[in-house]
């Protein structure tokens, strides 16, 4: 499983490639990447959980909506997430995602914080399988 931030693109925002051998792991990698922009995740404890359940007809929309939901919860509950248990079922046309997301409330004194993520762009958003690997490309707005 790997995340590679693309510093060759975008002066003001964050873009990354993610790879994993399984689709749910790929989504989890993307979740980790988003929150790694916002904080040093080593300083975040996985002591609270939030559940998410979504359905959509494409993997790209599913990823966009899941990451957007995590960002929404981040602001609504003032939380950072560091671990994700993701389950994806279904086929093209109807996918269902269920996730348990682990993190804690933001503590500006204790957490090493970075830049806030405002949202996820649709720019070149992709989720695809190449051979034995699942790959994603995501741009998030800072």
């Amino acid at each position: 499983m790997t995340i590679r931030f693309r510093d060759d693109m975008f002066e003001s925002d964050a873009a990354f490639d993610a790879e994993a051998t399984e689709l749910p792991s790929l989504f989890a990698e993307c979740g980790t990447a988003i929150f790694a922009v916002m904080a040093d995740l080593a300083s975040v404890k996985p002591v609270e959980t939030r559940k998410i359940r979504l359905e959509d007809d494409s993997l790209e929309m599913l990823l966009h909506r899941w990451l957007s939901e995590l960002i929404f919860i981040k602001d609504r509950d003032s939380m950072l997430f560091r671990e994700f248990e993701v389950r994806i079922t279904g086929l093209e046309g109807k996918f269902t995602l269920e996730s348990m997301n682990y993190g804690e409330r933001i503590d500006q004194a204790r957490h090493k914080l970075g830049s806030d993520v405002k949202g996820v762009s649709f720019y070149r958003l992709s989720v695809k399988q190449e051979g034995s690997l699942w790959k994603a490309f995501v741009v998030c707005d800072l």
Binding site: F5, D7, D8, M9, F10, E11, S12, D13, A14, M38, A39, M61, H64, R65, S68, I71, F72, D75, R76, S78, L80, I106, D107, Q108, H111, K112, L113, G114, S115, D116, K118, G119, V120, S121, F122, Y123, R124, L125, V139, D141, L142
Partner: protein, 483 residues
């Protein structure tokens, strides 16, 4: 590969329609030759894509502070027919009504410098910033509904400002046409706790100095409120916070699905659009206005906190310190404005993404006391290099849909900036230069280092020479709160 650009003047370049069959109008880039050569390839491709959108008028524009965005380049301006053109959330951005406010004081630099640490520390505590920041106001859903409609006026009504603040705010701090029914419950939930906060990234609150040597237009400066030697001003940069970000996310998802319905296709999905007069287009516009008004209110509430801090440190009322708004501008927005197109007046929807309105002298939308000089344009530079106050021009109204730059524009990614410098090093170097900075994030400080930004003086020189906005004064940082 970059399309060919044709020189119109030393500060204006054009990509003609022949470069790409999809282009409906030419694309124009305002830049000196130095800035043009340094612009990233993404700008060129993106401005060509914008020039291909339905209903676009005259030309798509990129300002000299422009850089790679998504959909529109940052620094992008495009105007569409309001009757048969489109609206594109990507042409406004996630941070709806991200903008700037500049505040004047009667304080001199000599009075402020000995107290700069007290002031910056006070502001850092009074104006929450960074990831996880929460506002001090306890708002109900009903309060937020009122804020969406009334904008800065809500804040003044509640005692967080004075009527003069509204007169010196774009659209008097309230754009007409807001409809809270078009805003999701999620956006309300996300935004309720963040009104009165600064945000992070390139958002900041800065105490600044103006000297006689850096005033370029005495008349305009005095009318705007920069009217004494070695004066202290305060500038801040922030937007609609999580409330606006959620509205942008909600409607990006709506528009992604709506494209097929209207037979639209775009090369870049972030340019997702819908006819302005469609149900989706109108719903988004009304929700966007809600977010814009919330951003005006946010900056108004932040000004209230700034006044409280200065009052506490100097033990005088804000009024006796002469703390008044110079101006407040949007730089991520879409607005209905009227321009002459092919010899007749046409209502257009002007998208500005990282670009500022710049009305010229005599424009009736400006308050009477500054009308002869044009609209103040607040241009934020990096925290190390300073900022500018400019004035809008008739030339901008004629040539660029009354638009100009918003900042110096980044020239380096955040990752690259963090590899070159550390936040602690930046803070230390700034301290040696006499600038006291408090940041919510050390990595954020590194990302915002001066070396990550274009040469502000060259960017400003471009729009000054191009006639889009004229230099009024240059402001230097003394103290800074970074998100």
């Amino acid at each position: 590969m970059r399309p060919a650009v044709k020189k119109i003047t030393d500060f204006l370049w054009e990509i003609s329609r022949e470069e790409n069959p999809a282009m409906r109008v030419p694309a124009r880039i305002y830049a000196s030759k130095i800035i043009l050569d340094e612009m990233d390839d993404g700008v060129y491709q993106q401005i060509v894509n914008v020039a291909s959108l339905p209903g676009i008028r005259r030309h798509a524009i990129c300002m000299p502070d422009g850089h790679w965005g998504y959909g529109f380049p940052i620094g992008g301006v495009a105007a569409f027919s309001s009757s048969d053109g489109v609206i594109s959330p990507g042409g406004i951005g996630f941070d709806i009504n991200c903008g700037m406010r500049l505040v004047r004081t009667d304080l001199t630099v000599e009075e402020v410098r000995p107290k700069i640490k007290d002031l910056v520390n006070g502001l850092f505590n009074a104006v929450p910033a960074g990831v996880g920041a929460k506002g001090f106001l306890r708002l109900s859903d009903r309060d937020l509904d009122d804020i969406m409609v009334e904008g800065s006026g809500w804040a003044v009504k509640k005692g967080y400002g004075i009527p003069g603040d509204l007169e010196r705010t774009e659209e008097l701090g309230k754009i007409q046409g807001a409809d809270p029914e078009k805003v999701s419950a999620k956006a309300v939930e996300r935004g309720l706790g963040q009104i009165g906060t600064l945000g992070s990234g390139n958002h900041y609150l800065e105490i600044q100095a103006v000297t006689a040597e850096t005033v370029y237009d005495d008349g305009a400066a005095a009318a705007f409120g920069v009217d004494r030697p070695d004066q202290t001003l305060i500038m801040f940069h922030c937007g609609s916070r999580g409330f606006g970000h959620q509205i942008a996310t909600d409607y990006l998802q709506v528009f992604e699905r709506a494209m097929k319905k209207y037979g639209l296709s775009v090369k870049d999905r972030e340019l997702s659009c819908a006819p302005f007069r469609s149900e989706e287009g109108q719903d988004y516009f009304k929700a966007m206005i809600c977010a814009a008004n919330a951003a005006f209110a946010n900056r108004q509430i932040i000004l209230h906190r700034v006044r409280e801090v200065f009052s506490a440190v100097f033990k005088k009322s804000p009024d006796s310190l002469g703390m008044r708004t110079v101006y407040d501008v949007c730089h991520n927005i879409a607005k209905l404005e009227t321009y002459e197109i092919s010899g007749r007046q046409e209502e257009l929807l002007v998208h500005r993404k990282g670009a500022t309105r710049a009305l010229g002298p005599g424009n009736p939308s400006l308050p009477e006391d500054i009308r002869p000089f044009g609209q103040p344009v607040i241009v934020g530079g990096s925290m190390e290099t300073g900022s500018y106050l400019l004035a809008g021009t008739k030339e901008a109204e004629r040539e660029s849909f009354a638009s100009t730059i918003h900042g110096s524009g980044r020239r380096m990614s955040r990752g690259e900036a963090k590899r070159k410098v550390r936040g602690e090093q930046i803070a230390s170097e700034m301290k040696e230069k006499g600038i006291y900075v408090r940041g919510a994030s050390m990595s954020g400080l590194a990302e915002e280092a001066g070396l990550a930004y274009k040469d502000l003086d060259e960017v400003v020189r471009t729009v000054h020479e191009a006639g889009l906005s004229k230099k009024v004064c240059r402001l230097s940082p003394m103290g800074n709160v970074k998100g």
